[in-house]
Symmetry: C2
Amino acid sequence: MSMQQKEIFLKHLNEMNHYKQALELMTWDRHTSIPNDGLQDRLEIVGFFTEKLHQLQTSDKMVNCFEQFLSSGDSILQQAAQVCKTTYEQKTNIPKEEYKAYAMLCSESEAVWHQAKQEDNFKLFEPFLEKIVSYKQRFADYVGYESHIYDALLQEHEPGLEVKEIDEVFADLRPMLIDLLQRIKNSEAVVDANLLRVPFAIEKQKSMSLALLERIGYKLNKGRMDTSAHPYTFGINPNDVRISTYYDENDFTRSVFSAMHEGGHGLYEQNFGTDIQHTLLAEASSMGIHESQSLLWESFISKNKLFWESNRDVLKAYAPQEIQKLDLETFYRSLHQVSPSPIRLEADEVSYPLHIMIRYELEKDLISGKIKVSSLPEAWREKSAAYLGVTPSNDTEGVLQDIHWSSGDFGYFPSYALGYIYAAQLYESIDGALNMEQIYRDQNLHLVKEWLKEHIYQYGKRKTPLQLLKDTTGKGLQTDAYKTFLQDKYKGIYHL
Amino acid sequence: MSMQQKEIFLKHLNEMNHYKQALELMTWDRHTSIPNDGLQDRLEIVGFFTEKLHQLQTSDKMVNCFEQFLSSGDSILQQAAQVCKTTYEQKTNIPKEEYKAYAMLCSESEAVWHQAKQEDNFKLFEPFLEKIVSYKQRFADYVGYESHIYDALLQEHEPGLEVKEIDEVFADLRPMLIDLLQRIKNSEAVVDANLLRVPFAIEKQKSMSLALLERIGYKLNKGRMDTSAHPYTFGINPNDVRISTYYDENDFTRSVFSAMHEGGHGLYEQNFGTDIQHTLLAEASSMGIHESQSLLWESFISKNKLFWESNRDVLKAYAPQEIQKLDLETFYRSLHQVSPSPIRLEADEVSYPLHIMIRYELEKDLISGKIKVSSLPEAWREKSAAYLGVTPSNDTEGVLQDIHWSSGDFGYFPSYALGYIYAAQLYESIDGALNMEQIYRDQNLHLVKEWLKEHIYQYGKRKTPLQLLKDTTGKGLQTDAYKTFLQDKYKGIYHL
């Protein structure tokens, strides 16, 4: 490739990058800062820039660029070309007019879902969901797949993974989770989350989260923490990665563990390699890998007993007396009360993956035509009873609980569960490579960050999820580490 | 004009508008939110979007559009075409390469100015300023002018006003201001700003400002108030107009009157007519008119004694005891201590216009070649002594105090003084049209906002400054109202 061709390609990549950064800043602003009446104009401008980006992603110039660099020998440019090609195909394999009609349907459908949920009236939402499912089926056909139609939808979020692998790991996990849940239910151990639900000034919760974020290596010169209705990470570029959390004055665990969770996402985004900045490779390998990074810091590290032993000084500096007077063991156990709820967003660590399975199985069967939309509410209740041991009292608490299907989001829920599995495998490797006890004791968690930077963060999209796993753990997707983690942890907490 | 041509033009206007909104959001973000290390990437993206906007502003399509609509009969489109034409000429009359060289010089020069100011070393800055002045002279020649070379630079900020008019009003004001300052100096009246300089919690200052902003009609559903190093108004669009202020815990007057000042700018931007939204006409008529709107609310209304009588409840709700115990007269007088300083940014209401005159006269003479850059420091000291009665003790306090010349900003300082004159004329008209005493008493200041909306705000760029004055006051630019305002006010305060 000539220097000139390379420059043209890099310039084109950078141009797309500029639009992406502007759009991400607007997303951050919409979640944290925009005045109410500004929303309508903002939607217009976001639409305009999205269209501009789309033009670049699907331009002849783009095709020309990626075709030239797909086998260029320069590994970064080659991988960037591959990302461009994938994006190009995603954007062009669906006829434009059809996609537009679908997008309009989704925006109408979201409003209908809101109403249906409010009125507990699934029938209202049913015809919309039917249409969405049929669009998704056609889109999957346009994209193409080899063994299962749902694979086509999975690729956008978890490239390289297919239904048969996910079915396999979920089939392996499901009985173990159901059994663990049952044993916890039967346990007479007292684990009381209410001990932590005491008034805790929001400003102090904020300072506490910031202090802990600093300990894990999240940099405030390259980021900030705001408040928004839902916790979120906004990666504008690696030097500007903003996270948000939310506050409940009577439950500091919400804000602090949200901050740790988003901090985990934030660490990933702050530490993409400098060699891939300004290309489209400075993005997470997949949604599941992104989630593994947040869960690693939230569930595996900041909910570890040693973490709180090591950060007792932070608790001392900010927490109210009622919390400070709890001994470490009680504090730790209180963080881990398990009580299955029909609502995914209220789920504990043990029930959560089961919620994901319910949704995954149903949406897979919807897309493959195995079940009909009309039988969803009943199927949801059955699975909820079978997996969680709770039956939603109505559809608002059941099949209507989440917005995702109404906006056409199919195929990414499995990533949430995959995130736990990846995280467990990675934590096992970290534990083997580093002396974690020592690291907690010496407040050296930034060493974990450095390890992750070396093995995960720096590569961005240069490695697929399975490549990352193989290169860091020597294994493929395996549930062992995750099962051991959950069983050991809750065995201790619930005296099983 | 065919419907199709109209649509093309409106689409083109809207497209420019989208880039402007994105850039304004990035400016707001840079002043209030961006993490430190994010600045460099941000500059790149701002440069990219500025270039995109520039391409639209100077495209053949643009020329084609405005030429078709300059005499279209549809007054809004005709005026939008005129704005496009003016922008086109501003952007194209200077050869691109020359402008680029000049922009690079300015960015280098700003850094040198910082160093020169820090080291009190004008000689360091001198060669840069010489080059900038010579660029500005050439640019003025490219733009063209009739009577005075400085007129060419004035047009960008104060369209329709020329040196001869400004010289005339300044010549009229100068002796009156110098005389007033002298009489205040000789007065034995006690006016002590220190009475207001007591600890005042920043959160309470903020609440107080927000309460007062609400009273003047600034809408928080279309805006927000943030903190930034310098107070600022960010008009993204009329439904999203953000202001910022700054806080001094020991001097609430800084934050509150900054908020009122920016609130005045904000009211203007929130109330452009809906018929000009999405065109380029939804901008201030001129910089001086924009400033008149902030000064009207800051200096004429929120520093009025009746304003504080009427808003005593706000003071009661937020101010510390030391301030609440002051009687209204003392409180009001303390807001108006006059003590000339060599520094413009510390100036009181009476000295401020004299600072503007010093700079205006010097920059006018620089551009016309009447004085040389090398003689600036001496000329500055002389004028400062003659007008303000204070001599800066060094160049850091004198000619080097402001950044503006180092960034090539010539021709807009007069707008600050014109803002006062416009504001005085407008306040006189309002006082004639509305019963101001009653309005203060009934907390009905939103009626003033409505009057301004009807006579000023809604028109945006559809009327020039002189047109606005003529249509609302029946007069041209006149100093009478301003002189009367200052003389009457300070006669009372200083017992002259």
